[in-house]
Symmetry: C2
Subunit: 168 residues, 2 copies
């Protein structure tokens, strides 16, 4: 995959998770419709995406649309995506903004053994019949598969307030 | 699966995601070591788990341990788990605490087309060589497979502060 070049200090797994026998199987429930058609145009994270001021759409495949019942305009939600263009075999890597390599699980890079993206967004509108959920912003390329939507609960999903003053 | 009985108002997918051909494959990077050995003992969410005052451990399989480099005591992180005991074919369901059924994507039930759990926790200790990460609490049964760890970033992962006063 030429768009992901290797850099100093990176280390690879002894196998490629993309080609070994899977431990479990995923099904795609829909796809992202995004203003970003190519990787070079895509914001690196949701802060950058929000600065661009463009909404995006989740298209949910027909059998899964009844699963949207109860989601409403203004709700906050997590989206889990499948980052299908990312290599899966780097276990330490050096993003452009870092001086040295770091373990994959200490980074939000799309390159990871299971390339599942986590995106916390605000719902702008929900059309259950059409299977369309408009969201305030997204840091994903158009067409990226979607695995799940979950409601966001401040009491369990936001942790830094709880632990402020306790952290080492 | 006798532990998940069906309730009024629930609706099923026309197929079972557990048995259709997968769109993508997951590999397990490790497993949870938890004080909760059976489903009946397991807290329903992380708030309940924290009230019990017991820590838990993530055991990372050997090839994936270099991926922990950069995670430190006190860090906040997301864990993605694979809820391997949950049925996958309910698209609307009625949890015990609700009067009426609701769409699966408006609930945090483990029963969903792709049963991926999202758990936001605080790291108590990180032993890269042993592949052991102690966490402040967990709402998972002992032995649950782990798919990913990601650092938690307040700027993008905590959204309710940003939208307070704007929500409908």
């Amino acid at each position: 995959m030429a768009e992901f070049e290797q850099r100093d200090g990176e280390s690879r797994l002894p196998f490629d998770p993309a080609t070994v026998e899977a431990d479990a199987g995923l099904i795609f429930i829909g796809a992202i419709r995004s203003p970003w058609k190519e990787r070079k145009d895509c914001p690196k994270n949701l802060s950058q995406a929000r600065e661009r001021g463009k909404t995006a759409m989740i298209e949910i495949n027909k059998p899964f649309r009844p699963g949207l019942d109860g989601l409403k305009e203004g709700n906050l939600a997590h989206i889990l995506s499948w980052l299908d263009r990312a290599p899966r075999n780097l276990i330490a890597q050096r993003p452009r903004h870092l001086e040295t390599a770091r373990g994959t699980f200490a980074l939000r890079s799309p390159v990871r053994p299971n390339p599942i993206g986590l995106h916390t967004v605000r719902l702008i509108s929900v059309d259950i019949a059409a299977g369309l959920v408009e969201i305030d912003a997204i840091d994903l390329i158009d067409g990226t598969p979607v695995l799940d939507l979950k409601p966001y609960y401040p009491t369990t999903d936001s942790l830094h307030d709880r632990f402020d003053g306790e952290s080492a």
